[in-house]
């Protein structure tokens, strides 16, 4: 039995929720970036799932694009974390209080 669209969407939704909770609650920026990746990949799963459902390759191509873009985004994020580490800033998102809000 092959999994249907519903199964893909449910797994994707769960991944999205895990990622969102991680982004909002975890304190280490590294883990926050990890959670962002989980969210992006949940979107990828939804894209590929819909791609199978609709037929055609557009969904898969978009998923590839998202992967590349996500990597670029994470590299910039890691670069910022390295720059902060070089300045010996505390790496804890709760302590990022230089700016209010």
């Amino acid at each position: 039995m092959t999994p249907g669209l519903g199964s893909y969407l449910i797994v994707s939704g769960i991944l999205f929720a895990i990622g969102l909770v991680g982004v909002l609650l975890r304190r280490s920026p590294l883990v926050v970036l990890l959670s962002l990746e989980v969210m992006l990949n949940s979107a990828n799963l939804a894209l590929v799932g819909f791609g199978r459902y609709v037929g055609g390759q557009d969904g898969q191509v978009f998923a590839l694009v998202v992967m590349g873009v996500a990597a670029a985004e994470v590299v910039v994020g890691l670069g910022l974390i390295v720059a902060m580490e070089r300045r010996r800033l505390v790496l804890d998102t709760d302590q990022l209080v230089e700016l209010r809000g």
Binding site: L5, F16, G19, L20, V23, P29, V32, L33, L36, M39, L40, S42, A43, A46, L47, F50, G51, Y53, V54, G55, G56, D58, G59, V61, F62, V65, V66, V69, A72, E73, V76, G77, G79, L80, I81, A83, M84, R87, L89, L96, E98, L99, R100, G101
Partner: protein, 487 residues
């Protein structure tokens, strides 16, 4: 399989910017320090001017509407108008940033990021599919994340970069998710094909969820309440020249693509998104302007003001062709005003050596007559006083909303404008506070000559558009007509 066709001419304005960024990487390798910065500035100015010139060349080409790269992009006059606004903001930003100390070390990188961001914005305004929309959105977003953190010696700057990255990425994910849902509902990522699918089945829950997610994702970019929470922090922490560019150009590109999505992809669901946007406009206008009253840091205040202006602009989205015309005029005016205002704030920061607050600006207008005068003009324009362009921009916007049957939106807009007077005038009065008049002219800080020219130029644009707008209005009208047919 036929060989894909690439419409080089239609893409030239963006390719010039990207090519310039590539050249600048080599400049960064080959030259050092001030030489590198000066070459980078020349390349940057050349690229922005070249991009704008290329737009004027293709403006009248054919019927002005061309599907590019197999329908992934549509280069019409609307997209071209946004390209001019982005190029203008980039040009002013470069001039304003010239004296910034950080550029002596990393000038080429700064200009390269700026060019890539501008190219991404241009492409986003021309996007005709969610794939190209996402790629161009991320192109400029990633460049902006890096630009926000460009001052790696300042923890506020690094922090604003990281915050923008995290919250911006959430917005992007939501957008992709929405695109996936619309794809599931209609079987395509292209706006014109989505429109067909949605029209066939306007009650589809899948499409509705997709639309809601797409609006949420783009809402992060245009900073609409309740997706605005990153704006004050990022605007305050980012280096001021970056804030200037971000506030002006991002807004233009994001609103342009939002109009395009709403008008070309989901017109059949107008009954759903029009009330939703009208409500978002009301809440954004009132909330942002009320919160701005409490700010003492000028950059933070301008950030909330920018959120408020996003609220006014939402009004244009529900007002049809006249709304699109008013939107473009407003975006052009806002770009000049905002870049100018942030540039003056940057000079004030450089001179006083600390963040610009209402207190630190007290009496500053007397010791700096030109810059103080320019800032006063920008504040009046933001508040919507004649004869500045801000007045006309608001007038056209409200008129378009009333014509489209949204009189209550215009009334709320007027109320929000009255509230906003509270904080714009507070800064204006502080600038010319007699009690803090130092009596002597301050010697200008080194490197502010270009920034001063930028501010003066922006002020002239603001006054010119306010006193003699027909040329630009005609241009905005043509652009709007290329996207939305007259009713």
């Amino acid at each position: 399989m036929t060989t894909p066709v690439v419409q080089w001419g239609a893409l030239a304005p963006d390719l010039i910017l990207l090519g310039g960024a590539a050249v600048l990487l080599l400049v960064a390798v080959l030259f050092r320090d001030r030489t590198a910065r000066d070459i980078a500035m020349l390349v940057g100015v050349g690229c922005f001017v070249g991009s704008a010139v290329a737009v004027t060349v293709i403006w009248d080409h054919g019927d002005g509407v061309r599907a590019v790269l197999d329908g992934q992009f549509v280069v019409d006059r609307f997209a071209n108008a946004v390209r001019v606004i982005v190029a203008g903001s980039g040009l002013l930003t470069l001039m304003g940033a010239y004296g910034w100390a950080r550029l002596r070390e990393h000038g080429p990188e700064f200009v390269a990021f700026l060019l890539v961001a501008a190219a991404g914005m241009d492409l986003m305004a021309a996007s005709n599919s969610f794939v190209s929309l996402f790629v161009s959105l991320e192109t400029f977003s990633i460049a902006l994340y890096a630009l926000c953190a460009f001052d790696t010696k300042s923890s506020a700057s690094l922090e604003s970069g990281l915050k923008y990255l995290i919250l911006g990425s959430i917005g992007s994910v939501v957008l992709v998710y929405g695109a996936a849902f619309l794809y599931g509902a209609t079987g395509s990522f292209r706006f014109d094909e989505i429109a067909v699918g949605v029209a066939a089945e306007p009650e589809s829950l899948l499409a509705l969820a997709g639309l809601a997610l797409v609006l949420g994702g783009l809402g992060f970019k245009i900073a609409v309440v309740p997706f605005h929470m990153w704006t004050p922090d990022v605007y305050e922490g980012a280096p001021t020249p970056v804030t200037a560019f971000m506030s002006a150009a991002t807004k233009a590109a994001a609103f342009a693509v939002l109009v395009r999505v709403l008008v070309t992809a989901v017109p059949a669901m107008g009954d759903t998104w029009k009330p939703a946007l009208a409500v978002a406009a009301i809440v954004t206008m009132l909330f942002a302007n009320v919160v701005a009253l409490r700010q003492t840091n000028v950059k933070r205040m301008l950030a909330y003001s920018s959120v408020g202006h996003a609220g006014y602009l939402l009004m244009a989205l529900v007002s049809g062709q006249a709304g699109a015309k008013a939107l473009l005029f407003y975006l052009a005016v806002y770009a000049a005003t905002s870049v100018g205002a942030f540039t003056v704030v940057a000079i004030a920061e450089r001179e006083t050596g600390r963040a610009a607050t209402i207190d630190s600006l007290r009496g500053w207008g007397f010791s700096r007559p030109v810059l103080g005068g320019a800032l006063a003009i920008f504040l009046l324009s933001l508040a919507g006083f004649p004869p500045t362009a801000g007045f006309l921009a608001k007038l056209y916007l409200f008129a378009a909303a009333i014509d489209a049957g949204y009189t209550y939106l215009a009334l709320v807009g007027v109320a929000a404008t009255v509230i906003s007077l509270g904080y714009y005038l507070r800064v204006g009065l502080a600038l010319y506070d007699r009690r803090h008049e130092s009596g002597s002219m301050l010697p200008s800080a080194p490197g502010t000559a270009w920034a001063g020219t930028c501010a003066a130029l922006a002020a002239i644009v603001v006054l010119w558009l306010g006193i003699y707008p027909p040329d630009v209005l005609d241009w905005a009208g043509q652009a709007a007509a290329s996207l939305i047919a007259a009713p």
